[in-house]
Symmetry: C2
Subunit: 361 residues, 2 copies
DNA sequence: GTGAAAGCGCTAACAC
DNA sequence: GTGTTAGCGCTTTCAC
């Protein structure tokens, strides 16, 4: 272990001295080269790279008020729904010359607020994905900063919403068509707009198809929580479940298998978000959405708001659809009856909003 | 769409005026409250919150040289290996009061360097995970900034390495024990330390067990690339594959299934990283590691280097082990012979470094 | 086309 | 304990 004094980075005036010009010229050589003689620019740049000069963006921000940074805050980086979104947003931001701060609120509104406060003066804007903060605080924030929301429907703010309604409708219709007369919605985080949207979509679709609807809450959008509620589900006298997300579905799948319930023969399961692709077994039928698209759009919205110095309140809806794989089948004769029903007609082909996927295995 | 002038954030001197004190006092009320009368602190804080004052960290950084930020750069956020690592690192950083920049290099060394340059003046240190940059540039960077590496073994720098050797040894031994006499290693990104480590570990283990070793390159650590190399693998007269990561394995599994090769009866597959858990079908046997642990350790190493203003070169090895699930079985009589072999003894229990997992489904 | 100098918001001597 | 003031590195009027 060594204690080393790192050599201090060269500043604009080091370069100025070396190039025999003023600091203003160096500054312009980087931010407004068109104001300078081409020759000068080259000279300055030459010495700059020779010295290893890199502009100090924080200092620049201090005088311009433009930080060149944005922040993205998510409730759980490790939830596979977010990484593609994050990646797309970061790529779009980078393309526009912005760097991005990442915050993980761990599903906790207070942590989220703390993160936001720590970042607010270092960024020009925020992307809040599935924010768990109360509306009031979001609106307060939006008074000082550009804010774009993902999966949160706060009027007055630009937002991109993954519109699960279409997909959920297709899912319930799919179940109805397979002869199911009852289902349970397994809900996710109460503070989640997506959950509220999904819950109500399931509810109206169930009414439409005259199906009995039960409901049970998974304490966390995770595999374990999904497995935990298995017994509750089994005790419920329903033949199908739609879950808040794919993880809960995956956990439920595991729980059902442990209890000897064969999916999809005895029970049908539909997930949401389609993040597990076809990798579960049986391959999960799920409501699919382009979550990377959501990230890209949010970033683009933010960028354009920043660059044009405006504030819009675009409400951007992203389509969803049902991807039918192997966890849905005709309803058993009685719920969870372990009937010897083997038929698996997959008759949904052609139904609007439904896509038949070949499993990858 | 409205064009709104956002009200400028109050500064330290606004607060000073309101509280009837000097700017220095306000500053101290936040950074060194112990220097002030308790009463004064309360007064100042009161007016600060009333005005909605939040310290401008960039400005603070300018005068202290301490940004309170770090950066994490990864080659691909969307690769599930990284999100848990990211999350753990971000959490640890946040706990220590640091905010974190996120960079995705998209596996491109030049993009990585560009990202680093853009961030270098705004952060106190970097975590480079699976960096694709040449050693020279990493060392240059480490001259100006604290750098902690993950999965990159550059002497002189602090680094945390996921030591796949143990896991790979166990994997090859497991195959040998099952009667396999040949295998192929499906390699990943050439610039990846992990790939080099895995390749050479497979190689020496193959020698040890007197197994024939082939090798084929997947152009990208992805499902698609894994599926693409399927024919090459089939043409190879081997009975098992170890892949660079779980995605390639998953793609290979899909490709094999499409070609009518039954896993594990006809062919055994072992992945690396164990990010798919038991969700593939058949459930993937894989070399497992705690990647979140790697993130946490890297962050802690960085934090402690920053706080103690030192530079160590700790080389931190993280254990791996083999998780046996359902894609490995006794070798078929001849390679890819479609023999009717059904036995699946899973006899590896008790072998060191091997863990038998129950599939979740 | 280029330079001098003020100032962005904050901290850290140094006074008192 | 608290105030004054000189910078931190950069941009940007305003001169020249």
């Amino acid at each position: 272990m060594r204690t080393i004094k790192m050599n201090p980075s060269p500043t604009i005036s080091d370069v100025a001295k070396a190039a025999g010009v003023s600091t203003a010229t160096v500054s312009r050589a980087f931010s407004r080269p068109e104001m300078l003689r081409e020759e000068t620019v080259i000279q300055v740049r030459f010495h700059a790279t020779r010295l290893g000069y890199l502009p100090n963006l924080a200092a620049r921000a201090l005088s311009t008020g433009r930080q060149g940074n944005i922040a993205i805050v998510v409730p759980d980086i490790a939830n596979p729904f977010f990484p593609p979104l994050l990646k797309a947003a970061q790529t779009a931001a980078d393309l526009a010359g912005y760097s991005v701060f990442l915050g993980d609120s761990d599903e906790d509104p207070e942590r989220e607020q703390r993160l936001v406060n720590k970042l607010v003066m270092q960024v020009e804007g925020f992307i809040l994905a599935s924010s768990r903060m109360p509306n009031k605080q979001i609106l307060e924030l939006s008074e000082r900063q550009s804010v774009v929301l993902i999966n949160r429907d706060t009027p007055g703010l630009p937002r991109v919403l993954i519109d699960t309604v279409a997909g959920i409708n297709a899912a319930v219709a799919h179940l109805a068509e397979l002869g199911h007369r009852s289902l349970v919605y397994i809900s996710g985080p109460a503070a989640s707009w997506s959950d509220q949207q999904r819950r109500s979509a399931v509810s109206s679709a169930a009414v439409l198809h005259k199906m009995k609807l039960e409901s049970v809450h998974a304490r966390h959008p995770s595999f374990d929580a999904g497995r935990e509620i298995t017994s509750a589900v089994i005790g419920m006298d329903v033949t199908a479940a739609i879950t808040f997300d794919d993880f809960v579905a995956h956990g439920l799948l595991a729980g059902l298998a442990e209890q000897g319930v064969v999916v999809p023969r005895d029970f049908s399961v539909i997930g949401c978000d389609d993040v597990l692709g076809a990798s579960t077994y049986p391959a999960l039928t799920s409501v699919s959405a382009r979550c990377d698209e959501a990230g890209r759009m949010a970033a683009d919205l933010l960028m354009s708001n920043l660059q044009m110095d405006k504030r819009d309140d675009t409400r951007c809806l992203l389509e969803t659809w049902l991807v039918v794989r192997d966890t849905t089948a005709p309803a058993p004769d009685s719920s969870l009856s372990r009937a010897k029903k083997k038929a698996h007609p997959k008759s949904a082909i052609g139904t609007p909003g439904v896509m038949r996927m070949r499993s990858t295995v």
